[in-house]
Structure formats: structure tokens, C-alpha cells
Symmetry: C2
Subunit: 423 residues, 2 copies
Amino acid sequence: MKSFIEYSPDSDFPIENLPFGVFTSAQNHEKHIGVAIGDLILDLHVIAHLFDGPLLKSKQNVFKEQKLNEFMGLTRPYWVEARNTIQKLLDATNPTLQNDSALRQRAFVKQSEAQMHVPAEIGDYTDFYSSLHHATNVGIMFRGKDNALFPNWKHLPVGYHGRSSSIVVSGTPIHRPYGQTLPVEDADPHFGPSRLMDFELEMAAFVGGPPTQLGERITAKEAGDRIFGFALMNDWSARDIQKWEYIPLGPFTAKNLGTTISPWIVTIEALRPYIVENFPQDPTPFSYLRHDDNFNFDIKLEVDIKSEKSAVSTTVCRSNYRYMYWTAKQQLAQQTVTGCNIRPGDVLGSGTISGEASDSYGSMLELAWKGTKPIRLLTGEERKFIQDGDTVTLRGYCVDDDGVRIGFGKCEGKLLPAIPFEE
Amino acid sequence: MKSFIEYSPDSDFPIENLPFGVFTSAQNHEKHIGVAIGDLILDLHVIAHLFDGPLLKSKQNVFKEQKLNEFMGLTRPYWVEARNTIQKLLDATNPTLQNDSALRQRAFVKQSEAQMHVPAEIGDYTDFYSSLHHATNVGIMFRGKDNALFPNWKHLPVGYHGRSSSIVVSGTPIHRPYGQTLPVEDADPHFGPSRLMDFELEMAAFVGGPPTQLGERITAKEAGDRIFGFALMNDWSARDIQKWEYIPLGPFTAKNLGTTISPWIVTIEALRPYIVENFPQDPTPFSYLRHDDNFNFDIKLEVDIKSEKSAVSTTVCRSNYRYMYWTAKQQLAQQTVTGCNIRPGDVLGSGTISGEASDSYGSMLELAWKGTKPIRLLTGEERKFIQDGDTVTLRGYCVDDDGVRIGFGKCEGKLLPAIPFEE
């Protein structure tokens, strides 16, 4: 497949990818839906009339929305038709867009000149805890090797409801938060800036399909058509605040200070060539959590830290989505097992994705092992946790045997100093 | 104060109340914003042009929305002007509405002929755990008297993010959920219908004012202008599912099977005459959680259970909002302390409100003390938890020294049998 749009072989956004996002530009202050191709964005608002397939012909309005929810609220056959139409329009052999210079002028925007936005209205966001190595690492650190995993962990995808309002798009700075912590066990708590700021390397699965009704369950077998695609996610965490507040109802203000997502949603269609075997599960989960097909993906994940003092980034983590014990289908089945209704645009966070190797851990908590093994950056600086001025960048990409590479772009955020608390 | 609309002295909705809601009717399939007065609803969409005060004259469009968020997103002076305008229009001495028979015909709808809806788009819903007696009761049951309260409980309002999508309006039936439980300690988990279905007597505080930015804090001192009003809330809970799933990240599917709210939001303006002293707090909380004024309310709360077999309801709980240890201002301060942004329409759930007396406990878990002290209904039936076919009704009202009474209407839901799980 070859597009008339030129891009380098290591672009995240070849014609095989075609992820969806929402952008504004200097020419256009209204949010438009777009698709990334090379260094450009194809503005779907402008070419909505070209979606003339049997399904989308009467649904072209979904591409004129300011968010992806209406499009995501359709079903997979619509998504596939949209992808095929876009791929055809971008193909080097197709003249429709290529040779219509007036339309072409209006339909493409440089990514460098666009401002990306959170691509969908995220009605509800759930964060799971589905990487075996991550859960085991945290368990060993806090409870010892023999009690690392809680008894429920291998029976169901443990998860909790997160905060939707504080999900922001890549590039948004995050302030170090103030909060309560307990620096000395059994002493009085302390109020001040968090001292243990961390990233969490996650992926966000966006839910698609029509909304369900309260009481309706979606089993893992039925869940495949309900996952629209994936983005990268950094679930910023204040470890010291978390530790003090989370008993007994779970993480709260330690996690709602900001959650960064990458702007482009890579679809399941684009990811299909990179499907790998599911993580082996023992014990066999209950029927509602079982599905026979593979729904795991070979997505290489990396995290860079760049200190404010230097232009040099250090890759501190090399992980992979394939380390997920529970699949996104299983997460959705768990989300809905008691009848919780879902809406297109909902997000299922994977939880921190850690591999087995110590350089594949998806958080500073694990990489520097609770501060006991500081990470050395290329600049010689040491890190136990994230420092003010540090920029944290998540990247993800897939490569197949033929060398076809698709990427997720980046999920980046800079940690700014705490805003002083004035009484 | 006397209205030209007649109602009985024990009406929940006298002219002193004027709660806001959203309704449709046979005449009107589009959602309209209305205010309850006696047995009627005053349709604000129809009389939007009568909001001619200095502030609202240019904002009449907020009353033509299909939800309350735009109105809630204004500030308290706007809310006060709206209340004053409505009170004036309904006053027995005011001819504007009273004597315009054509307008009057269109502007009033019988509550019995209207369908109520969730009154706002609830972007995020947080559930707190702010009643001392409830937290203590649960603590004693599961950890014994000496460790009843966790160390953080008196230092901060413990809370967790809930599920927005599954908040439904009074009258919506709830299905008993399927889920995983651990009937025998250290044995294998079981999958089937929950056997321990419970209600939780709560109140929902609706957040108002313009949205804040990520990183912005609202201290308890600043939070007063950010609470728009209150409704009743039943946070249905599957206790057996909760017990198995909640370690270590908190309640998840045990709580997202449905949360019922009453349709009318009673404003802070209406509640002012019923303000009482805050619950004494020891230790004194950190500065961001302190406010000097009273923001506690004498709201009498009751819970009725009615079995399907009988027409007789039994009041199983008599509690009061005044038992809240943490105020809604303090809850909002905690919600935002790390910089979490808020949006008008967000909900802060109080947590189960229990008093000291054993008939004031706000859940079956406490009333029947973990099933050890079954409750006897007036029909002679016993209840340890909620049975299929039971209707649970929450009511709330305030009475002042002059006998002026305002109420919250009701928050009702019937528990239906589980929908069988078919493989």
C-alpha cells in the first residue's frame, strides 16, 4: 500500500495506521475530527461528503462532530468502511483527493500547526490493574513475596473508577500536588507538596458501539465489537498521598491530579496484524470472562525522562502491551458484569504495564524499587521519582515481520512545581 | 409567604422550597427544566422570558436547556435571583402568572402526569464515607471495636470515584446483579446472583459554579459558593461482591449496578433556615479543610421497605443529615486539593448517613448487623438484606420552629430478580 502523501519509513502514521483524533488549527478554531497520515492530518470534516459507502452515506454527520463519540457509537462495520474509504482516498492510485488541488488544500493540515484535544467525551473512566508483573512487584514491595498477589487478582480484573474531568491531552503540564501524607508511621499526617511523584505507563482502551442499558451485561465473548481502539496513557500518581488516603476505598486524590493521554486513537483494525497470544491464565476464569480468540497486542512501549537542565532524554523503561494478563475484552466484561451500562467514549485503563525484566517496569516506584535503586539518567543525574521540570514521554509502536510499522505518537507531560498553598 | 397555587400543609414543595428538576410530559417530549410547587411543576422553559432581573435577563437561555448544568454553571447571585423571581411569580399577590390564563395553562404540569429525569449531566460522581457512626459501625463489624476507624478517617474525608453512567432517577428498577463472591474463606470464589443486596441512605450534593482548571484548588472556605443543592441518593450495594473485589483498589462492580437519586434538587437557599452546628471535629483538620461557618443541615431522613407481597411499607430507618462528620464544603476541598478540576453538575455523595441509635443506621448491613439481627417488617416478614420484589424508598424533609416544612420528594427503586446468566 502506498499513499500519495509522502512520509519517512519510521513515521508513526503510515497509510496502514490511520488513527483518529480531534484538532483545531490557526485556520479553524472549531474542533474537527482528523486522521493522522505522515506529518499531516486529513480533516474528515472537510471530506465528510466523500464517505459514500453503503453504511456511512447516511451517517456523514458523524465526521462533522467536535468529538469522536458519535462515530464510536456506531458499530464495527461502519468503522471498517470508514477506514477503507480513507485508505482508498489516500492511496497513490486514487485521484479523488490527490488531483483536486482546491479540496486537497483544505483537507490537509500540518500536525506541527495543529492543536490536538482529548478526542472523545469520556463519560466514565475505569482504571484496571491488569499486569501480573506490576501487581506482583507492588505486592512484593509492600507485603513481601509470599503475599504479593491478593487472592482475587487471578479471578477477576481488579479495577476502580477513575476521574474523567482530569484526563488531559499530551502536552498539558501537570502541577506537583499538595496533599496529606504520613511521613512517619503512627505519627501525625503532614500537609504539603507530594514528594513521591510517579508516572504510570498505561494504555487506554476506548469503548465503542451504541450505549447499553442499565442491567445489560457484555461477556468477554461479546466484547470484541465494543473496543474501538487504543491510546497511550500516563496515570500520574502521587505515591505518598496514595498510601495515606487509599484505605479502605482505593486511590482518590493521588490519581485525579491529571491523567495524560496521547491524542490519536489507533483502531483495532490497524492493530490486527500485531495480535499475539493471550497471556496464559491459571486458574481458568469464569465463563463471563472467557474468550477463545487472541486479543493481546505486540505494542512496544517506552518511557523517556528529560530533565529541565538538559536537552537529553533517557529511555528509562522498555515494556510491551503483550505483558497484560487480562485483555481489554475481559476488562469490559468485568466492568459490566453487575449490569453497569457503558457509553461510547468510555475509557478502560490497562493499569501500569510492567514486564519481567527490571528495565521493563512501568513506573518509577518499580524501576527505582521504592527509592532503593535510583535510576541514572544519561546526563548523570539520578532519579528515584519524578522531579520538578522533568518531562515524561510515553511512546508506543508495532512492527510486523515485513517491517510495516505503526505508532501511537507520544503521550507527554512536564511536571511543574507545586502551586504554593496560601491560607 | 403564600402562593396562588394551593397545596396541603404537609406538601414537600411549598413556596419556600422551589427545587429544580427536569421533566417530560405527554404534551412535551423534550426535556424541560421545572420547579416543583405543591403537586405541580412550573415549567421554566415556558416562562424563561419572565426572568427579567439584572443578572438573568441576558441568560434566559439557561432555562431552555434540557438539563440544569448551564444554570448550575452560573454563580450564587444568579441562583438567588432565579429563586426570588420564581417566588415572586408564584406569590398570591402577584398577577403576572396568576391572571394570565393562557400562560398559566401552559406553564403548569401536574407532577402525576410528568416523567422526571436525572436533572443534570453528571460529569463525575464521587462517593464519600463521611458519617462517623456509619464508618464506626462497619469498622466494628469487620475489624472489631479497637480498630474500627482507620487512621486517616478523622484527618480527611475519605472518598472514591464512582460511576456516573449508572446514576438513575427515582422509579428506575434495579436488577439483582450477578458477580463473583467468596462464600467460604480461602476456598474458590463463586459466580452467581448477589445474596447480600443492600441500600445505602445518602445525600447527593450537586456542584455548581463555573468549571475550574486542572491544578486549581478550592479550599473549604471557598467551597460554599460551589454547592448548588442536594438530592436524596440510594447507593445500591452488593455486599458480598464488594467484599471480594474491593482489595486493594476499592468498591467497583458492587456499586455500579445502579445508584438512584431523587429528581428534585433542593437548593442551599431553601435549606438555609435548617442549618445547624457542624459535627465537632477532633483533631482539628488541616487549614484547607477548615471553614468557620456552619454548613450542616437538619434534614430528617427515612427509609421504607415494602415487600412485593403487601401494600404495607415499613420505615426501617430514621436518620438525619446532621450526623455528617465532614461537611460538603470539606468534601469539595478534599476533591480538589491535589488540583482535580470540577464541572457544574458533578455529584459528591455523602456516604451512608447513620446516627447513633440502632434504628438510625443507613444500611441493612448495619440495621440487621451483618445479618445477625434481622429486621421485622410490619407485615411480619423478616429482612437481613433486600429481597427480590422489595421497593426501597428514601424520604427527606426539614421543619423549622414555625412549622415551615420543605421536603425532597422521594428516591425510590424496586429490586428485580437477577437476569439469568446464559453461557
